[in-house]
Structure formats: C-alpha cells, structure tokens
C-alpha cells in the first residue's frame, strides 16, 4: 500500500474521486439552492455571489445542478461497470475455463457486439429503448461487457495451464473450488484496471447520450443534458456550457488517472517494459 501512495496518478485520481463521492452524498447540504427550482425572474444570470456559476435559461442555479449532477454521473458509471462486470465475468469464466462449444458460442456473441462501433451501438439501443436512466444503462452495459468477458477469458486461459492449478486438481479439488480459490484471484488485477478506466468511459458516453437527448430526462440535473440546455444560449450565456463540461472532464480525468496508476502498479509487465 505504501508504494501505491507514492504513485502520483493514483493519489490524484483517488483524491478527486473521494471529493466527488463526498459532493454526491452530501449534495443537499452543499448545494446553495434547489437544483430544480424554476424562477423566470433570474434567467441567464452571469456568475455572481448568490449564483457562483450563474443561472440557466429557467433561472435554476447551475452550481446546485452540477452538484446534484454528480449523483447521476457516478451512479451511471458504477452501475454500468457493475452490470458489465457481472455479465463479463460469468461469460468470460464459462468461456475460458470450460472451453469447447460454450467458448465458441460466447466468443461469436462477443464478436457480434464488437462489430458495431460502441457509440453507434449504444446510440441505436438507447434510441430504440427510449429515453431514461435505466435504458441508458442497459445500452452502455451492452457495449461494455464484452471487454470484461475477453479479459477474463484470456486471463483464465493463461492461468489454467499453470502448475499450481494442475496441483490443485491433482489433489482432488473441484472445478468450482479451483475457479474461486486459484483462478479468480489471479485475474483480479487486470479486471480492476479496465473497470476503473471503464467507469470513466461510461460516464463520458452517458453524458454524450444525454447531451443528444437519449439519457436522463429533465428536470433531473445531469451534466450532459445541461450542456444540451445551454446550446441555444451559447452566445448570450456561455457559462451555462462551461461548468458542466468542466465537471465531466474532471470526473473522467480522475478515473483515467486512477486507472493508469493502477495499471502501472498492478501489471508488473508494463512496469518493467515501459518505464514511467
């Protein structure tokens, strides 16, 4: 653990993420105003003491909306990755450990999903399922799970043939025992790395889909749809678009920092071959 804290990327990433979680949890205490309170008298006000990030086209406090928006973004990121992990680990394990027909079928399914560029697949699914937070998550899980299935399968294939697994089997261990006690612990590292980077990607993609109108619906404060709101007022009130975009970028950056740092620490190969 002590060497981890020496890794600047991990430190920076974790600090920002902790702060974001804090903001999301204590949003009602931190936000200066009600994020959905409409007040036509104070439309499109520039940043001021009362409204540090200004107000939007409906007179809502942008800072408060950004603070509440952290809830949606973090929720989407974590939920999408949890769902993808669950599906990916189950399919990847079955595929890698048991092989044969199951492996063939699952890998062809993965190929099929990977044949469509992710943003097109997510957009088409989100469009077909209709707007809403839940449908947005389904669409993103559909594009994310394949990478976990592939990584898990690959790791299992390489672990499976190693001596300690042979030894366990020789001692009479069952498939399930070997999987849980010998194989899974060895694939945790690569999975943690891609899951961390995956949260960042999911948040970015979710904001993009919401920006296009396929995600979270108004009046729920969400960063992507706030950017969409600001589009029409960009000449008059550019600050409407500046702050939500900044929030998305910082959040995604934090997960990328953490993921990069974890890769350096957890993947001994990359540490040796690619000095940093």
């Amino acid at each position: 653990m002590s060497q981890w804290t020496k890794n600047r990327n991990i430190l920076v990433g974790l600090s920002i993420i902790s702060l974001l979680i804090f903001i999301a949890v204590f949003a009602p205490q931190i936000a200066p105003h009600n994020p959905t309170e409409v007040n036509s008298k104070i439309r499109l006000q520039p940043p001021s003491k009362e409204y540090p990030f200004g107000t939007d086209h409906m007179g809502r406090c942008i800072l408060s909306r950004i603070i509440y928006g952290a809830r949606v973004s973090l929720l989407v990121g974590v939920a999408v990755i949890s769902g993808s992990l669950l599906i990916g680990i189950v399919f990847g394990t079955v595929s890698g450990y048991f092989g044969g027909l199951a492996d063939d079928l699952i890998m062809r399914l993965v190929d099929g999903f990977l044949a469509i560029p992710s943003m097109f697949l997510a957009l088409a699914l989100a469009g077909a399922l209709g707007p809403g937070l839940f449908n947005l998550m389904i669409a993103l899980i559909a594009v994310e799970w394949t990478s976990y299935a592939r990584v898990v399968r690959g790791s299992i294939l390489s672990v499976k043939e190693q001596e300690f697994v042979e030894a366990a089997r020789g001692l009479g261990a069952s498939d399930f025992y070997i999987l849980v006690h010998h194989v899974l612990p060895n694939i945790i590292s690569p999975v943690i790395v891609i899951a961390t980077l995956g949260i960042g990607y999911a948040i970015l993609a979710a904001a993009g889909l919401s920006f296009l109108g396929f995600g979270v619906q108004p009046p729920t404060p969400e960063w992507g749809s706030m950017l969409d709101d600001g589009r029409l007022f960009m000449r008059k009130a550019p600050y409407i678009m500046v702050f939500p975009g900044l929030a998305i970028m910082i959040t995604v950056l934090a997960f990328n920092f953490l993921g990069d740092g974890l890769r350096d620490e957890l993947d001994p190969r990359s540490r040796k071959e690619i000095p940093h």
Binding site: G112, I116, P117, A124, L204, L212, G245, M249, N256, E273
Partner: protein
C-alpha cells in the same frame, strides 16, 4: 498465415449475421407500433386504414421472419430499402453521408498524426522531465475531454469570439473552412492515444540491446533514436492508426451532429430522432461492415509486420 487469414475472414460471417439481427430487431425494441408512431401527426392518431396502407407499402404486414429474410437478402445485394421519411433509397443516403464522414476522418487523422507523433517522440526522449509530464497530462486530458464540450469551446473561441471560422455546416461541398473545427474535435482523442503509444513504444525500443550496441559503437544519439529505435517503435503506432479510424467513427456520432456535418454519424442521430428505421438499420449494418473490415486489415498487417506474434494462438 494463410490459414489465419481465412479463419479471420470466416469469423466475420457470424458476427455480421448477429449485427443484422440486432439492427433488424431495433424496430421491435421500440415501444409502440412503428407505423402508428410514424404516421402520428399534430391532428391526432392516424386512421386504421392509413396504418394498414403504410404497413403494406413498407412490407411491415408480413411475419417477422419473412420480413427479416427478405430484408437480409436485399441487404446482401446492397439494397437497404427506402427511407420511411423521404422515401428515397437508403443506400444512396448512406453512401453520400459516408463520403462526408470519410473526408472529415482523413483530415482529422492527418491533424492527429502531425500533433501526436512528434509529441510522443519528444516525451520519450525527454523521459521523466517536465516536458514528458506535460505531454502525458495533455494526452490524458485529450482522452477525458467530452468531444461535445470541446466542440463548444472551439466554436465559442474561433467562431463567436474571433469570428474566423463558421459555426457549423458543410459549406461548399465540405470545404476546409467548415472542416477545421470538427476535424480538430474529432482528432483529439486519437491524437492522445497515438501520442501515448508512440512514447511507450519508443521507450521500449530504446531499452533494447541493439540500441546499447548502437550507442556503444559511438553513433550520435540522433541516429540511434531516429534510425534504429524509431523504425521499430513505429510498427505498433502504424497499426494503431488503423484502429483509430474506429475511434473516429465513434466520435463522428456527436461531432458531426453538433457541427451539422452531413456524415454517417449525423445521419444515424437524425434518423433515430425521426424513427426512420430503415435508415438506422442500413447505417448500422454498413458501419459494422466497414469497422470489421478495418479491424481485419489491422490485425493482418500487425501479424505481418510483427512476425514474433504467433497467429495459431490468436483467435
């Protein structure tokens, strides 16, 4: 090698078949009857006769499997049907917009190469200095910045504030003036990825024994890096450029829509808004074919350039 290529090509068939099922069933994933939704007007629901007539005209009255097989047969022959909205052939719309996307992608690619390769080399050569740190931070920001926000910042600065470039549009057949901002936006993330790869790949090459030998025999550092290390370091970068086209396709969805660039991303977003299913289906299939072919070429060229990779174990 030949067996590997054959196997890879054969594996494309089930993948594309799956894509065809996904795109075809898109119509049925959506809530509501497509015919009714499409004919809905401000005056209220369409009459049952109008719905029936529309169904017959668009072939929606047949059983699902018949519709699918008929559609698939047409698709294989390059016929994607007619748009529900404009009633024009879908294939024409796709080809037209794909040309616009291709044009934009090539310019983005050029911009991203010009920026990323020198930066990646610089970061590697100046490893662990402030220059390296800045390059790496820049690359990380490049992959984290939402492209729709970056587009807005560029428009705000270059179009609204400086008034140098048009806000959006295709201009006179997609001229350079209209292309600069979307191309920069689109190229950013691939530039970031390429710069990172260039850096790590050059660092790896520089740690090899032949570099030590080259240095030991007294070659100047410029030749060691420029001639010996870079040649090997560029192999993964060049193959990555192929994969970057996939990145560009993904980015095109939002970027084209924001800048009103009439490419395939814009076409898909627009037809999803309009629920123009034949166009959505056709575009997804078309994009998948392009994407899969691209990945195949990348994989084959990678194994060709890198004989150390055994293709027997790759599936």
């Amino acid at each position: 090698m030949l067996a590997y290529i054959t196997k890879r090509i054969l594996l494309i068939v089930p993948a594309l078949l799956f894509v065809s099922i996904i795109s075809f069933s898109m119509v049925y994933l959506a809530p509501g009857d497509p015919a009714e939704v499409l004919l809905m007007s401000p005056n209220g629901s369409p009459s049952p006769e109008a719905i029936d007539a529309f169904r017959v005209r668009m072939g929606l009255d047949q059983p699902i499997h018949v519709q699918y097989l008929r559609w698939l047969n047409n698709v294989v022959h390059g016929d994607f049907g007619y748009s529900y909205m404009s009633e024009q052939p879908v294939s024409g719309a796709i080809m037209k917009s794909f040309r616009a996307t291709l044009k934009l992608s090539i310019v983005s690619m050029i911009i991203s190469i010009i920026v990323s390769i020198p930066l990646g080399i610089l970061a590697a050569v100046k490893q662990n200095t402030i220059i390296d740190d800045l390059c790496r931070l820049g690359a990380l920001i490049g992959v984290s910045i939402p492209n729709f926000w970056q587009a807005f910042l560029l428009i705000l600065f270059f179009s609204v504030y400086l008034d140098w470039l048009p806000v959006a549009g295709y201009g006179n057949g997609g001229d350079l003036e209209h292309m600069i901002l979307p191309a920069i936006t689109l190229g950013t993330s691939s530039a970031a990825v390429t710069a990172r790869l260039m850096r790590s790949s050059l660092l790896e090459a520089l740690s090899q024994d032949y570099i030590t030998t080259a240095r030991a025999k007294g070659l100047p550092e410029k030749i060691v890096i420029g001639k010996h290390a870079l040649k090997n370091a560029l192999i993964p970068v060049v193959t990555m450029l192929g994969l970057n086209l996939g990145f560009l396709l993904n980015g095109a969805v939002v970027v084209e829509w924001i800048f009103g660039w009439p490419g395939i991303g814009d076409l898909v977003v627009d037809s999803i808004y309009k629920r123009d299913y034949t166009v959505i289906q056709g575009s997804i299939i078309f994009i998948a074919v392009i994407f899969v072919t691209l990945n195949l070429i990348v994989d084959i060229s990678y194994t060709y350039l890198n004989p150390r990779i055994s293709y027997e174990s790759v599936d």
